[in-house]
Structure formats: structure tokens, C-alpha cells
Symmetry: C2
Subunit: 414 residues, 2 copies
């Protein structure tokens, strides 16, 4: 099927999807989870074919993202069940106003309509995204990278079998067949069909979508997260937070990439930091600016791009700044508006930092790793928005809805 | 100054703007209103020059939009004072969650940052947009059409004099000097500088922004608004609503352009409608489809594009449909997602219509003309969003804000 035909079918299905009662959506989600388990063998066989075709062509990290196991399929099904248990975000009356002329204006949450997700090699995004869209009354169009296509196709087949068993239109979940760049372009330019485009993947994919798309698009993901250790920091808290933010999972967007230290405490704190980050299972490579290098014997001198790089690795750029205002200025110049933290016992410094740092999440004495739908209590996540329109930070079910005004009069005229 | 330099200055000013207390913003708004009155003569002189230069080059409607009078400058100043009296939308704690690990997550409303407004020949947009942006802690970049540039320049000078008198940075309000297409393009592609682009004007401007902009952009304005007269309608209410929706101000986006009539009542209702719409000071030209033409003696036969045209004039396309489902189908095929109404005494038909019509505002027994920030009780309006992301329908102060998460721990790690 062409991508245009897929978009046409999605639009037709959106009309039905918007009005499905919560109970029926939950029934469909249960059937989708069950179908994933029932078709585990087919899914694993398709994934084995994807892995065989990709071997030697993509790196080990990518291969691991692509790989499914029995447990991973179980986890995918469990994820769908988790989404089923969340409250229905649609049909909520957000505000009601009665105007002096008697008009009653209700603001009601409704689905966005058709959500397109362009992703890369993680087959589990297929089920995650489809479940979140279904629960929020949206129709989804999934477009995965060619490496994962056979896996995504069997997963989609299972999900569609689940929803049709419940009497809902299979076209609520569609996978784009064409994995060439043309299909991504068709989605980016699908005005009139696509209500929201979400790119999930690397920097290249995201910036291509943001700059090319003529349909509404949400920028997700890139995180150059800073932890600033203030002159009034508790060193133990600082060391614990930095170790966690840098090393607990360096490959994700909420991991720390830059440590800024107040110049007043650089001589005392930096040697402790170097010791702490060299002791773990994976020692961290420090790349130090001129002012911090003297306190970090053996560290590399930071290069020109090191304070603007999302390493996604056991590497940390380290610099000193002049107090909280220096930190705020540095972050303003290098920010990706994702997550940044201050470590301080000084409430005034904390207040200044949280007011002035223009990021989706700003932390005081806590790890940047908490920027996550689950950790924020949303129960799920479609991505982390690093832009300011519509949604900022972790996008849960509510961020997959919009609203409309329903206005009731009695022959009322203006 | 180049547009790039203007964007750089705006970004620098945004840093200050975000933290200005409500009282100081209100003081600035009062000073801005006073400066408009104080510099009325200069503003009117500049406007006279604009009018003289435009005479013969643009039509009468455009000339009237461009024209300022003493009363219109007073109204502009009064508009700024009205915005001053509205509640501050910034710094509100929207949600607070305490997580099991002790993290306190606060969701707080903050300004968007830099808002660019591209508009055409209405000089009053200069003051309206600047006041709304200032009140919401945003910096604005105004880019008006060349016809209105001298007027906009004197208005901007007055507004800037007002804000500097209060000690705020003048660069919170800037007018782009270059009125060529290049400056609009620079704003559309101002990634890293522009947080939101709002086009205000005709269809050509809006679609150019939506399709070209790589910065977040909100589609505003175009309205092909439908009124559907159901078989169970009260004819008096239907006639009153249609007369109001069509004729009270035909040049605006919330005016009715299409009347759909349930085929069951076409023979009874259409002659009454024709009579009513021929009696006013401005008789309405009806363009009828095949099925309604027999009941509308003397009406024109509708052409192919008449059900997809925003007439903005005393013209109404008329067609019959098969009940509420027929109306819903017609609207889905021709909608601009702005405002649509059903006239009915049947609660089930009303519920089906409001649930299924995918527009920013859906009306029961009321005129589409109410889709307006003032009429909705927002006290002001930056435009009517016809898209679904971020804001839908009238955009007030709240829609000029975003939020950030401020997360406080105690050395908390994941």
C-alpha cells in the first residue's frame, strides 16, 4: 500500500477512534497484549531474520537495540497491559464557563487524530506507541527503520489481530510498508492527514523531521544535561548525583554530559569527583577545561566541541564557572533545554537557578536521570519533548490529546 | 539592524523578561498605554504617510484596515490597559506531585520566550501583540507588511519609550526594519531564537508560514464555518443564528460560509431562510446545491468550489444533507476545523454532532461568531488557532505560556 493510501485510511479510522468508550479501548489493549504473547514465536523468527540481515552492517549497540528475546516480547506485552490500566485521557471536561449571555462553554479533552511516529531500530517502539495512541483515542501510523521492518511487521500483525477481535478498525494501527526516505517525507508533508509527527531516534532523524516537516512535529530527545555544583553544595550529595546521572545509563538522553563546578570549591571538589568517577565498573573519562584541568591530574584537556556534545558514553566534560550566575550563563549558551541540575544547600541559589535555566526539567539536589514518564508518575512515555509548544518534558497520554470547545446556547447570537 | 541581530537581541532580552514581577509588567503596560496617547499626533502623521503611499495600490477594505484615527489610537491604548488588568499567567504552579522516593515535582507556567508575529496591514496589531507578549513575560518581534510600516514604527517607538521608562529592556519589543520577504524567511527559519511564530493575516501568509517555517508555528484563522439546521430544529432559533453568523460581520473568520439543511425540512425551511436573508440592509447571495435549488427561487447554482470557499462577504453556500450524520460527513470533508454549529432541539443529535465534528469550537443553538477571545471570557486574543497542537481556538495569555518542571530532591538518585 502507498503511504498516501495509509494516511487516507488512518484519517477515516480517526473518525471512529475518537468516540470509542474507555472500556472498549481497554478490551482492545488486553487483546493486543494477549496477541503479542500468542505470536511470540513468529515475532522472534522475524526478529532473527532482521538480525541476520543487519549483522555486520550496524554496530553492536544498534544490534542490541534491534534484538528481541522471549523476555523482551513479554515486557512489550506487559507494557501494553500497563497502558490499559492508566486512566482514559479523553472526554474529560477541563473547564466549564457560563457567560453572562447564557452560553455554556465547555473545554473537553479529545484525541489529536492521526499520530505518525518515525523511529529507527527498536522493535518495541511499535507496541509502545500503538498502545499509547489507542488508549488516547488516536490512530497511529508507524514508520520504522528498514533494519527492524520484519520484526515491526509481525508485531503490527499481532496488534491488529488484537484490535479487530474487539470489533475496532484494524486501520487504527498501520505500519508503513515502504522503508525508503520517500515514506518518511510523505508523512512529514502529510498536511490534512497527520495531526502530529513524533520522531524517535537519533539527532539526524529528529533534526530532519523538525526542519522538513510541514505537519505539526514535536522535537524530542537530544539532551546535553548539566549538573552544576554550587559553592554551597553538600559534596556527598554532589558526588552521589553526578555518579548516578553520568554512569547509571550513559546511553540515554537524560544522562549527564557536563559538570560545572563553582570556582570557589574547584580545588576541593574536583579531586574528590575524579576519584569517585574512576572507581566504578566503568571509569569515566574526564575532559576538563583550562580552569579545572590543574585539579584533575591525568585528565584530558577538553576540545572545542566537548561542551556541546551528547557523548552518550562514559565521558564527562568538566568546567568551572563563577557561581550560580556563571552556571546559568554557561547553560544558556550550550543548552538543549532538556534537564539540568544544581547541587546546593543555598535556597537562594537554588531559586535563582530554577527560575533562570530554560529547560524542560530543572533539578535541585537530584539526578537528571529522573526526566522520564515513569519516574514522573505518568505511567508511560512517548518521548521527551525538548521544545516548548504543546508538551515539554516527558510526554504521557495527556500530551497525546488536544481539546475542543463545546458551546451550548438557546438560539444565542452575538 | 538585520533581522538576525534583532533575533539575537530578543533572545538576550528573553532571559530578563521571564523573571519580571507582575507589578513591574503592569507598570510597563500602563506606561505603554500612556505613551500611545502622548504620541498620538506622530502616530497619525505616520499613518497619513502610509495611507498616501498605499492609495491606489490596495483596495478599500485594506485601506480601511490600515487607517488610524484619534479614536482608533485611543482604542489601542485602552486595549493595552485591558491587558494590564488581566491576571498574570506566569509563575502559576499547575501541578505538584510528591513521588514515593521523596522527589517533589512541580509543574510551573513560564513564558515561551521569543514570540514572532508576522502580520499585514493592521497597525493596531503592533500594540495588541506587544501588550499580550509583555504581560505573559515574552519578548516579541513584530514584522508587519510594508504598507503599515511607518505607522507600526511610530507605535513601536511609543511602546518602547513606555517600557524603558519602567526600567525594562526596550528590546522586549522590536519591529523588523526590513519589510522584504527575506525578513519573514529569517524569522521562519530562526531556530534557536524564535520559540513561537504566529502569522496573522490572509490565507497566503498563513500557509506560507505553516509550510516554510522550521520554528514552531501556530496556524490561525481560516474559517469555513458551517451551520447545520437539523430536522428537529426550532426554525426561529435557526433563522436568528444564521442571520447573525452570516451578516453581523461577514469579513471575519468566525462568520458562517455554509448552511447545511436536513433534507427532511428543506422544503419548509429554505424559503423562510431565503426571505430572512433578503430582508437585511445587505441582502445575502445564496449559492445553492442541486437539492436545495428547487426551494430557493432565483438563487444561483453553487459552483464546484463554493463549499470550500471562505467568502468573507454577503454570500452563503446552501446544501441539503441526510440528517446529522450527513452533516458530520459533509463537514469532515470540507472543514477548516474552526467553528461549526448545529441547530436542533434533539439532545441526541446535538451530542452526536459535538462529539463527531472535529473543530476548535462546536456550537449547539448558537452563532459561530462567538469564537473570539473576548466572547470566551479570555479578555483578549492573539488569534484563533485552527490546528490541534498547543492551542486550539482563541489564544489568550495562557496560550502564550509553556511550563517547566522544577524537581527538588535531597541528593536523590535513580
Amino acid at each position: 500500500m502507498t503511504t498516501l493510501e495509509i494516511m487516507r485510511r488512518a484519517k477515516a479510522a480517526a473518525f471512529t477512534a475518537a468516540g470509542i468508550p474507555a472500556a472498549q479501548k481497554n478490551e482492545a489493549l488486553a487483546a493486543m497484549a494477549a496477541a503479542l504473547i500468542a505470536q511470540k514465536e513468529e515475532i522472534l523468527a522475524a526478529n532473527a531474520a532482521d538480525l541476520a540481515a543487519a549483522a555486520g552492517k550496524i554496530g553492536d549497540v544498534m544490534l542490541d537495540r534491534l534484538r528481541l528475546t522471549g523476555e523482551r516480547v513479554d515486557a512489550m506485552a506487559a507494557g501494553v497491559t500497563d497502558v490499559m490500566r492508566l486512566p482514559d485521557p479523553v472526554g474529560e471536561t477541563l473547564e466549564t464557563v457560563t457567560r453572562p449571555n447564557g452560553l455554556v462553554i465547555k473545554k473537553v479533552s479529545v484525541p489529536l487524530g492521526v499520530v505518525a511516529i518515525i523511529y529507527e531500530s527498536r522493535p518495541n517502539v511499535t507496541a509502545d506507541a500503538a498502545a499509547l495512541c489507542l488508549k488516547s483515542g488516536n490512530v497511529c501510523i508507524l514508520r520504522c527503520g528498514k533494519e527492524a521492518h520484519a520484526s515491526a511487521e509481525t508485531i503490527t500483525l499481532a496488534l491488529r489481530a488484537g484490535i479487530t477481535a474487539t470489533g475496532l478498525p484494524a486501520d487504527m494501527i498501520q505500519l508503513v510498508e515502504d522503508t525508503s526516505r520517500e515514506s518518511a517525507k510523505a508523512l512529514m508533508h502529510g498536511s490534512g492527514y497527520i495531526d502530529l509527527l513524533i520522531p524517535r531516534g537519533g539527532k539526524g532523524l529528529i533534526s530532519a523531521c523538525v526542519s522538513e516537516a510541514t505537519v505539526p512535529c514535536i522535537e524530542t530527545g537530544t539532551g546535553i544535561c548539566h549538573v552544576y555544583v554550587d559553592g554551597a553544595a553538600d559534596f556527598n550529595k554532589a558526588l552521589a548525583v553526578i555518579e548516578n546521572a553520568k554512569t547509571s545509563r550513559p546511553s540515554v538522553c537524560n544522562a549527564e554530559e557536563v559538570c560545572l563546578v563553582d570556582s570557589r570549591i574547584a580545588a576541593d571538589f574536583l579531586p574528590l569527583l575524579q576519584k569517585r568517577l574512576s572507581e566504578g565498573a566503568h571509569p569515566v573519562e574526564l575532559r576538563a577545561d583550562e580552569t579545572s584541568l590543574p585539579y584533575l591530574p591525568g585528565a584530558k584537556a577538553a576540545g572545542e566541541t566537548d561542551f556541546d556534545t551528547e557523548f552518550l558514553d562514559y565521558i564527562l566534560a568538566v568546567g568551572t564557572v563563577e557561581g550560580v550566575d556563571g552556571a546559568i550563563r554557561h547553560i544558556a549558551a550550550h543548552s538543549t533545554h532538556h534537564s539540568d541540575a544544581i547541587i546546593t544547600e543555598d535556597a537562594a541559589a537554588a531559586a535563582r537557578f530554577t527560575a533562570s535555566v530554560d529547560s524542560a526539567a530543572v533539578y535541585v539536589n537530584a539526578s537528571t536521570r529522573f526526566t522520564d514518564g515513569g519516574e514522573f508518575g505518568l505511567g508511560c512515555e512517548m518521548g521527551i519533548s525538548t521544545q516548548k509548544l504543546h508538551a515539554r518534558g516527558p510526554m504521557g497520554l495527556k500530551e497525546l490529546t488536544t481539546y475542543k470547545y463545546i458551546v451550548t446556547g438557546n438560539g444565542t447570537v452575538r
